[in-house]
């Protein structure tokens, strides 16, 4: 199970707005219930609750969306929220085929007769940002422009323009060309890469020639939204029609909750937004089986209504009606989760299924245990180092010219840029961190090593180092002999060899039954110097996978 939830988006809910959303419910009660609609409380201060939501729920990108779920689980308002399209706006967007290759999709809506206060505007902007980053994949897949409707003359055209096309971008006082915006403005530098491949750029222009937007980079200044706006025009451009419609549906329901009347906009003979709910049928027994419950249809429908869905029975099935903005529900298994949430996770009693099989560790674990016992019996301390290390530690310190190293792309740290091929350098690094500690120091490690061998070959290795005034070849040879004899009943033999880690004449291959399984020797003085070590060090490393076949 991965921890995918490291970077979750956050919504701020003020206590004032909360009072309106869930009248008469104490803040403490809200804090108790939020986790049970899958919202994490990131922080609370005197007037604001900061709530983290999972990226599968883009409808939680404003406090309106969170309020919808809260009202359901608290029983204030259950079932699917009513969505009403007031009428067609009668307005249209014409799409120039030139945008097909660049950013083909556009959808839009008109929202009339609403009121915007500062907090509502804040919520809308935060929602827009979250949708850009989530569903919109950092604007690449979809991006949103919110405009003052009253500054626009319809019809609108969505077309492609050259880099010398100019308009006054949002927040600027004078006209800039698209080329300038991409090169000079912060926002252009941040998102310009999305349009890198193109020499024509998408623009949305009204019938008076006013530029509304240069998606997905920036809006025009002229349609800027402020608290005086009563009427809005919202467009979503995208590379993917489904993403565009998903985003628009969330915006539509949010603006309706904010008090606007939603009117459709015609795009290529289709009226947008499309808010028709989806239907999914789920077997009652299937849901009960998955959850480990025994609910009847009526109870199950009640649970679904608390999750803000509508449902009815048809035979042994529940037919569930899913509002357009719940883009996360695609399968009957999702219905099961909605039932569980509506039922209240806190009401689910854990049941322990008795085991019918005996458990077992694998062979490798058994080997590791034997090795650990033997090595610690020899007075060695176990180290744990990272598989990802630096070229410096793994190769440069020993003057190795690495031709076949395995590196990773885009590591955020030069200490973790290649996969280690050997454990000895890591152990020397560990010794290096302990030069102020008492000697003798004896360390061992069991770890994966990686090698490019056509494909990537992984093997489990065991390595050890001894460091003290008298440390030398004999001591470490005694150790490897003891290890192989005690753990595997094998005799180790050593055959003179050379290695970049070890001094020539004090280095050998370790062979078992004629097969080379590792190297042993005294670490070279230049390497000791690199690792700032002032005592002699001897070490070995064996390839456990080669030895055992595990």
């Amino acid at each position: 199970m991965a921890q995918e939830r490291a970077k979750m988006p956050v919504v701020n809910i003020t206590n004032d707005r909360l009072k309106k959303f869930v009248p008469g419910v104490k803040v403490d009660k809200v804090l108790d219930i939020l986790p049970f609609v899958a919202l994490d409380i990131e922080g609370v201060d005197s007037n604001v609750i900061r709530v983290e939501y999972n990226p599968n729920r883009p409808d939680f990108s404003s406090d309106y969306g969170i309020a919808r779920a809260l009202r359901g689980l608290l029983g204030i308002e259950t079932g699917m929220p009513k969505f009403k399209v007031a009428s067609k706006s009668g307005q249209a967007i014409r799409v120039d085929p030139a945008v097909k290759k660049i950013r083909p999709c556009i959808v839009a809506l008109v929202a009339k007769n609403g009121r915007l206060d500062d907090e509502t505007i804040k919520q809308l902007i935060a929602m827009q940002e979250d949708l850009h980053n989530g569903v919109g994949r950092r604007r690449k897949k979809a991006s949103i422009g919110i405009h003052n409707l009253d500054a626009i003359s319809f019809p609108i055209i969505y077309k492609a323009a050259g880099s010398d096309y100019s308009f006054v971008p949002l927040g600027e006082s004078s006209s800039m060309t698209i080329g300038q915006i991409l090169k000079e403005s912060e926002i252009g530098k941040q998102y310009g890469h999305i349009l890198d491949k193109f020499d024509r750029y998408p623009v949305i222009v009204d019938s008076a020639g006013t530029t509304l937007s240069f998606p997905p980079i920036i809006n025009g200044d002229i349609t800027k939204v402020d608290t005086k706006c009563r009427n809005l025009f919202v467009e979503v451009t995208a590379t993917d029609q489904k993403a565009a419609e998903d985003v628009l549906a969330i915006i539509a329901v949010t603006l309706q909750d904010a008090g606007f009347e939603i009117r459709t906009v015609s795009i290529g003979n289709r009226e947008m937004p499309q808010m028709r709910p989806n239907q999914i049928a789920a077997d009652i027994n299937y849901i009960n089986g998955i959850l480990g419950l025994d609910l009847d249809a009526r109870q199950m429908i009640m649970c679904l209504k608390k999750s803000r869905l509508d449902a009815k029975t048809r035979g042994s099935k529940i037919i569930c009606t899913i509002p357009r903005y719940r883009t996360d529900i695609t399968h009957s298994i999702d219905i099961a989760e909605e039932v569980a949430i509506g039922y209240g996770i806190y009401n689910l009693e854990p049941t322990f299924p008795a085991s019918t099989t005996a458990g077992q560790k694998n062979l490798l674990s058994t080997y590791f245990e034997a090795i650990r016992e033997t090595m610690t019996g020899l007075g060695m301390l176990e180290s744990l180092n990272f598989s990802l290390t630096s070229k410096e530690v793994q190769y440069d310190s020993f003057g190795i010219k690495a031709s076949d190293m395995l590196s990773v792309d885009g590591s955020k740290s030069i200490e973790h840029e290649i996969l280690r091929e050997s454990l000895i350098p890591s152990l020397l690094q560990s010794l290096s961190r302990n030069v102020h500690e008492e000697y003798p120091q004896r360390l061992f490690e069991i770890g994966k090593t990686f090698r490019k061998n056509g494909e990537i070959a992984e093997s489990w290795n065991v390595a050890a180092v001894v460091a003290h005034g008298e440390a030398g070849y004999t001591e470490i040879k005694s150790a490897i002999q003891a290890l192989l004899k005690t753990c595997f009943g094998k005799d180790a033999t050593t055959k003179a060899a050379s290695s970049p880690f070890f001094m020539s004449g004090r280095c050998a291959e370790i062979t078992v039954e004629g097969k080379t399984v590792g190297m042993i020797g005294e670490v070279t003085p230049p390497a000791l110097e690199r690792f700032k070590l002032r005592v002699p060090v001897a070490g070995f490393e064996i390839n456990l996978s080669a030895l055992t076949g595990a």
Partner: protein, 496 residues
């Protein structure tokens, strides 16, 4: 020496002997008296003090010293002395005395007052005459005469002398009083009781040797008792890494719950790490910012054509976009152990079964006190024909109970490849708060169906380092991989 009496180090014996003849003494005195080095004396004092044979007292004493003016006066005489000497020489009026220069103008008042106090002069018809008392030294003169550079201990002064001191203090810059601290070592009652046995000790053997044993000389040898209470040098045993202790503990728990261990490569194809787990190809977790890709490494997808076909079509259907086989070929450092679990399930397609793994996983993070690029993940899966979410919660509860965690609760959450998904919160007694531990869920049908896995698969897992941090009280996760000997040697194997 009687049985049960403590054995003493030679240094201790030397100090006790020195104190037996002269008590108390300072450490310096003891060093001079015993011929021991100062650091030996200091160590001996610490040991004996610990055993209660000596007491170390810090005495603070005020000492009186001559100040500048006092030192000059000690040579030249007090103003009243100079006055009376002048009178004896026939200078009968103040004017005459001043004219002779033996006292200065500013000393006149002090001189007259002092001479009167001592009754050294009388006024006869307006002229000063010295009395016989002037032959005697005044108390102040006596006091000044005995002050030397060593100073004088104020506590040893008589009441009379103290009054004289007060008098002298009134004269500007005559006298200086300094606070001095002095450490004195003296025998305690227990220490004094040891003295008679000390002599006997000196002739005893310290070591039982092979020669003494084989020759039989041990029979007539008297062995000195060793100082069994003295500190011994630290020994550092070889030991497993503390994190490995936890890994082993977790493995034991899994085995006890009937789980079989599985293991697999750390470098995985994008196919098994992401695609088979229904993670869309444009999911942010698949970007280089979050995930390590092995540079330039693509491999043929290690799956059957049927598996690839089914998984690609489920992506097309579920995510409404084309599925790119090239993306699935990119080799990635596994971001979780789930691809290993899944490949095992796909291979054996069990009707029911329980499997676990503990292994390293990788994330392209900025390393900090709470993030590593590489950490251990524990994962358990259980599949059975009627496996349910409540069973998953029950397994989890049992698992935690075996780790000593009793208070837990579950919250809904989201993972791309499980549904329903829960996160577990456990109550940490030390921190007195709820902390998030393992995530869990039931594999989505989009994950199990293409691979021919029929029954629900309950899965849970999470990072082990987090548990280790709680257990070992660490604030910085990097400590677990620092290999600092000081830390490795300090962590107790068992938590009492």
């Amino acid at each position: 020496m009687s049985a049960g009496s403590p054995a003493l180090h030679p240094i201790e014996k030397a100090i006790l002997k020195a104190l037996s003849t002269n008590d108390p003494q300072s450490a310096v005195d003891l060093s001079t008296g015993t011929g021991l080095e100062m650091d030996q004396v200091r160590r001996g004092i610490e040991w004996l003090k610990f055993k209660d044979f000596i007491s170390v007292n810090e005495l603070s004493a005020s000492r009186v010293f001559l100040a500048n003016e006092g030192a000059v006066t000690k040579n030249n005489g007090l103003p009243e002395r100079r006055l009376v000497n002048a009178v004896k020489e026939g200078k009968n009026t103040i004017a005459e005395v001043l004219a002779s220069g033996v006292i200065k103008n500013e000393e006149v008042n002090a001189a007259i007052a002092g001479a009167r106090r001592n009754q050294w002069i009388q006024l006869v018809e307006g002229k000063m005459i010295a009395t016989t008392l002037a032959e005697k030294q005044s108390p102040e003169e006596v006091f000044l005469a005995r002050l030397d550079s060593e100073g004088t201990d104020i506590t040893k002064l008589t009441d009379e002398e103290k009054r004289t001191l007060d008098q002298l203090k009134k004269r500007p810059n005559y006298i200086e009083v300094k606070e001095e601290k002095e450490t004195k070592i003296s025998l305690t009652d227990a220490g004094r009781m040891l003295l008679p046995t000390l002599k006997e000790e000196i002739n005893a053997e310290r070591r039982l040797t092979t020669d003494l044993i084989t020759s039989g000389k041990w029979k007539e040898t008297k062995f000195s008792a060793l100082d069994v209470e003295a500190p011994a040098p630290a020994a550092y045993p070889g030991r497993r890494h503390p994190l490995v202790d936890i890994i082993e503990e977790v493995k034991e728990i899994f085995v006890g719950l009937g789980f079989e261990e599985i293991d697999g490569p750390m470098v995985q194809s994008g196919f098994w790490n992401f695609d088979a787990l229904f993670t869309p190809q444009d999911h942010p977790a698949r970007e280089m910012q979050d995930t390590f890709y092995v540079s330039g490494q693509k491999q043929e997808i290690p799956a059957s054509n049927d598996q690839i076909k089914k998984i690609s079509s489920i992506h097309k259907r579920g995510w409404g976009r084309e599925w790119d086989a090239e993306e699935a070929k990119r080799m990635v450092l596994r971001t979780h152990t789930t691809p290993v679990t899944l490949q095992h399930l796909a291979k054996i397609k069990p009707e029911s079964g329980r499997f676990f793994s503990v292994g390293r996983v990788f994330r392209n993070e900025k390393v900090s006190y709470k993030h590593l690029v590489e950490f251990h993940q524990v994962e358990g899966v259980a599949t059975a024909p009627n496996a349910s979410l409540r069973d998953l919660m029950g397994l989890q509860k049992e698992f935690y109970a075996k780790m000593g965690i009793k208070k837990i609760k579950f919250w809904p959450t989201f993972f791309p490849y499980t549904e329903p998904s829960l996160q577990s919160m456990v109550y940490n007694e030390k921190l007195e708060k709820w902390v998030e531990l393992f995530g869990m869920g039931i594999f989505r049908p989009e994950v199990t169906q293409p691979l021919g896995i029929k029954n629900p698969v309950l899965a849970w897992g999470g990072g082990l380092e987090r548990i280790a941090m709680l257990r070992f009280g660490l604030d910085d996760v990097r400590e677990l991989y620092s290999n600092r000997l000081a830390w490795l040697r300090s962590v107790p194997r068992c938590q009492l």
